[in-house]
Amino acid sequence: MSKKVDVGRKILSANEEYALKNSQLLAKQKKLCLNMISSPGSGKTTILVRTISELKDKIKIGVIEGDIQTDLDAQKVRATEAPVVQIETGGSCHLSAAQISSALEGLPVSGLDLILIENVGNLVCPSAFELGESGKIVVLSVAEGDDKPAKYPAIFAKSKVLLINKIDLLEAGAQVDFDIERVKADARKLNKGIEIFPMSAKTGEGMGRWYDWLEESVRNIRGG
């Protein structure tokens, strides 16, 4: 004999409670918080370091670094003198909202304008865990191929911004087959409002539009 009981409970409610707490804390202090998600090796850290250095007189940026092992990325960010907290997940493939809660305690949040979270390199799992961020930024480098928005729709559907990185490789003699227009069209099929900025964090090409977007978003949060 058995009986069926309707439950209707969210399975990740513990994560969502922390995410809500984080977003309330950030909203109260009017801070912009962006969660950067990509495959390993797309250039997230290089984008971060260049962005921090070139905007340092305009926006005070703090960083939360997520990695499975090592604090190599945190060391690179630390060289810019921006405050940084490293989370070593020790094998876990994504950051959770509870980890962000404790990392925020380690950052001088009140003196910052923007908190950038560098999630663990992975295009799938991090997209399923809300952290309490203001928005997600997905980074795709041209060497990964132009079929990624079609193959990994979740992260492209959920992101505010798509950064197409390493466009300098496209000009190096057509060694990389990458159709930017296809990527834009596929990303917009599921996400009409996504902002798309092609760039090279190595040469600096195309970074200006990303900086303008960041500055405007910081202004909007402060005024809102």
Binding site: M1, V5, V7, K10, S127, A128, A150
Partner: protein
């Protein structure tokens, strides 16, 4: 791979409900949207592994995947979105809003009930 964390939360939630009901769970039905990126095999494997030795050992998981929903901007029709065909089935319009993805939900648990007579 994030299924391990989903399995842990699921085990905690089912165990809590089992204590409330004071009964042994036999199966559980969960539902999730496509954007939760849950793989059935991986989730069941992870759940079986961590449920060993608990009151949830050996229970069967049924996982229902809910398709994404779109709302046509032309005729307002709500429809199930297929990645292979992203347009309104009623009027063929390609301009639509993506509706929020279904959350990861524990819908129902089946519990063993005590036999009242032999």
């Amino acid at each position: 791979m994030h299924e391990t964390m989903v399995a842990e939360s699921l085990l905690a939630t089912i165990s809590e409900e089992a204590r409330k009901q004071n009964a042994k769970p036999l199966s559980a039905r969960i539902s999730c949207g496509m954007l939760n990126a849950v793989n059935d095999e991986v989730l069941c494997f992870a759940f079986d592994a961590i449920a060993k030795g608990t009151s949830c050992e050996g229970i069967r998981l049924e996982i229902e995947h809910k398709l994404m929903q779109g709302q046509c901007k032309n005729c307002n029709e709500c429809f199930e979105l297929k990645l292979s065909c992203l347009k309104c089935p009623t009027c063929d319009n390609e301009d639509f809003d993506l509706l929020p993805d279904a959350p990861l939900l524990l819908e129902q648990i089946e519990f063993e009930t005590e036999q009242t007579d032999e």
